[in-house]
Point group: C2
Chain length 268, copies 2
């Protein structure tokens, strides 16, 4: 059974963000047959797929995907839950569309200028950043193959950049897949932690987080030294670093791992 996840699950606009480059004429791309087509309905009310996704995204940002209820989205649009099913087959599909919207936000770096290592790094950080700003939406990226024009262009550019840097084809293709998985996983985990701390304000949340980590540190410090000599003596190093630092550390390990597979070139 082969696996098509070589295409990164995270995408974004090619250049439309930083530079003022004119958009391509947007020749329509083929339609992926495995995901539902947007319904084509002549709206008679102010509701539309776009507005539904708008509302759902706002709820996700405020409370996470769990807060997205058909009733609630419908209410916010002044109607009942049944009306949404004209535009969307299920809650699941609605959330997929929200995810699709979110990944369009990811800006793509100038791969030509940066070289593949820094290009991959920048992409990963941007993508992670976007996910972190949208609660637990990263969870929707698992096992998903993005097929929007922007996503595809991003994957193409990333791939081209790596190939130009002599990364073997199969390494480049698979590495993109693996890195995307890692990005989504970390973003989701970050959201989970943030939620666990609770706290109405960011400061309160920060304080509760610190209290939690203190507890964890105390727990590990209290382990019997003779049975856990490494963990107790290196507790300091284990507890160091915030989420962002750890994320970057992982990305850099990935990049170093890829670099070690580039022929005729010393990894460091």
């Amino acid at each position: 059974m082969t696996d098509p996840r070589a295409v990164t699950r995270a995408g974004g606009p090619r250049a439309a963000q930083a530079k003022g480059t004119a958009q391509a004429p947007a020749e329509p791309l083929p339609v992926p047959p495995w995901r539902p087509r947007p319904r084509e309905i002549r709206a008679r009310t102010p509701i539309s797929l776009e507005r539904i996704v708008d509302v759902a995204l706002a709820i996700v940002d405020a409370e996470g995907t769990e807060g997205v209820t058909m009733r609630r989205v419908a209410n916010e649009l002044g109607t009942g839950p049944a009306s949404l099913y004209a535009y969307v087959d299920s809650r699941e599909e609605l959330l997929q569309r929200v995810h699709e919207r979110v990944i369009e936000e990811v800006p793509f770096p100038d791969f030509d200028a940066l070289g593949w290592q820094e290009g991959v790094r920048q992409f990963a950080l941007s993508c992670h950043d976007v996910y972190r700003r949208h609660a637990d939406i990263a969870l929707l990226s698992f096992a998903d193959i993005p097929t929007t024009a922007k996503s595809l262009q991003g994957a193409e550019d990333l791939l081209a950049s790596m190939l130009r840097g002599n990364v073997p084809v199969h390494v480049a293709a698979w590495a993109l897949d693996r890195i995307s998985l890692y990005i989504a996983a970390d973003a989701y985990e970050g959201w989970l932690m943030q939620v666990r701390f609770g706290g109405a304000t960011p400061e309160e949340s920060e304080e509760l987080g610190r209290a939690y980590f203190d507890q964890v540190g105390d727990f590990f410090a209290s382990l019997p030294r003779e049975r856990f000599p490494m963990m107790t003596s290196h507790l300091q190093e284990m507890m160091e670093g915030d989420g962002e630092e750890r994320f970057r550390f992982g990305i850099d390990m990935f990049i170093a791992g890829i670099a070690s597979q580039v022929p005729n070139q010393v990894p460091n």
Copy 2:
């Protein structure tokens, strides 16, 4: 804000599996204050926390965590949902206990004999394998710090093995955290794909999966060549490899990344 995830979220028995080494006297470890203590109740019925977890785990294995309903678990035990709340604070806590049970299954390799690189590899594969056998339970490992004796021992041994191999302390600590995240993410994604294919029997599922991947391949093949030269010309390589191969590829990239940080030693 520091972050305690240096401790791997996946754990397992030290040697109790392969070798016949006598178990340690099991001196009680400190109790982590941040997670709920098992209720201490004198059961008057055949239900107990252990039996509840048994039933829940069986449901997870058969259908995934979504199938675990309080009513259903209760029914299977011949009682009503309210009875479960004497042993467990919430459905969430029940699933956490199921996860705790599952990670106890992970066997630990003989790190002393293998060296850190092969040790990490074996551990990752074992852990992944266990998760893959228990539906989407890997999702419960996100943002979780396992604190069972076995898990802690596993983390200790893994850490010790890497330090013996001259991996810098902070690299070893963080790497364990990152690799654990990657393992869980891939296991979860694997389950999602499996579910997407549906199919009652494994053969049927395999066939549906193949059909799905064919669709995806066709889609990418149908992209305009001039706009997506890399993806269209390297489709073969992108589609190659099943989930397991890709997982191993990622682990090996991680290991190579760590190795590149070992001083006084050529990575390959």
